[in-house]
Symmetry: C2
Subunit: 134 residues, 2 copies
């Protein structure tokens, strides 16, 4: 049986990276591990790890990206919850067998080799859930 191993990260869509970092990094004192552009997603991402999990702040850098549209429609706030799974292929098969609505029918592979897939909020109780196999 495929198994959820951990909460990997919580992604937050923000409209002002510096203002957001003034809270997460400066006021809360969380470590900013990395701040980088993600051209493929037309966004800038800040990674703030804590005890094996991570808060990710995502700011769109172009108005025509999916994340920009999300921000325009819903405003800043939590975007998705990412769970680590030990066997993403097995989990996807299991989810399909239970008629869970998937955004990615098959796992995708990131540039760093991680396999990931998104599950539609309709099936989760309103949460965009990402699965990661590291």
């Amino acid at each position: 049986m495929p198994k959820i191993k951990a909460v990997n990260h919580v992604a937050v869509v923000v409209d002002d990276m510096e203002k957001s970092l003034s809270f997460w990094r400066d006021a809360l004192g969380m470590e900013l591990h990395e701040l980088r552009d993600a051209p493929a997603e037309k966004s800038q991402v800040a990674f703030l790890p804590v005890a094996g999990a991570e808060v990710e702040l995502v700011m769109p850098t172009s108005d025509d990206s999916g994340i920009a549209k999300y921000l325009a429609k819903r405003g800043p706030g939590m975007h998705h919850l990412c769970l680590e799974v030990d066997d993403i292929d097995g989990m996807m098969t299991q989810l399909k067998g239970r008629n869970v609505r998937l955004i990615n029918e098959e796992p995708r592979v990131a540039v760093d080799g991680k396999k990931y897939a998104f599950i539609h909020p309709e099936s989760t109780g309103g949460v965009l859930v990402e699965l990661y196999q590291i």
Copy 2:
């Protein structure tokens, strides 16, 4: 310096507990540690722990609760992110010194002795953040 130690839980507001559990417990296979009524919050809460963190599903049981109003206004989805802190009093002082907008000016104490306080989304980039000292 007070320090954020971990992501403690992610709370999700749901409108149908059984349907939500059919995803989180049955399809994903996460352990349902406890499902109980929380009369003080006029809600039912499901606790699904994973590797030191937890997904909490919260369903209002009355139309006049804060959580019911949130659900009516925003629909189901992620409600708040809870971070564990080693010194909540010190952290609250630090946040006030940086003009972070707080929902609870002073930490509150839960029935189980945990100290907690909420930070207003206005200061965080749109996320309702809870701090916990266990």
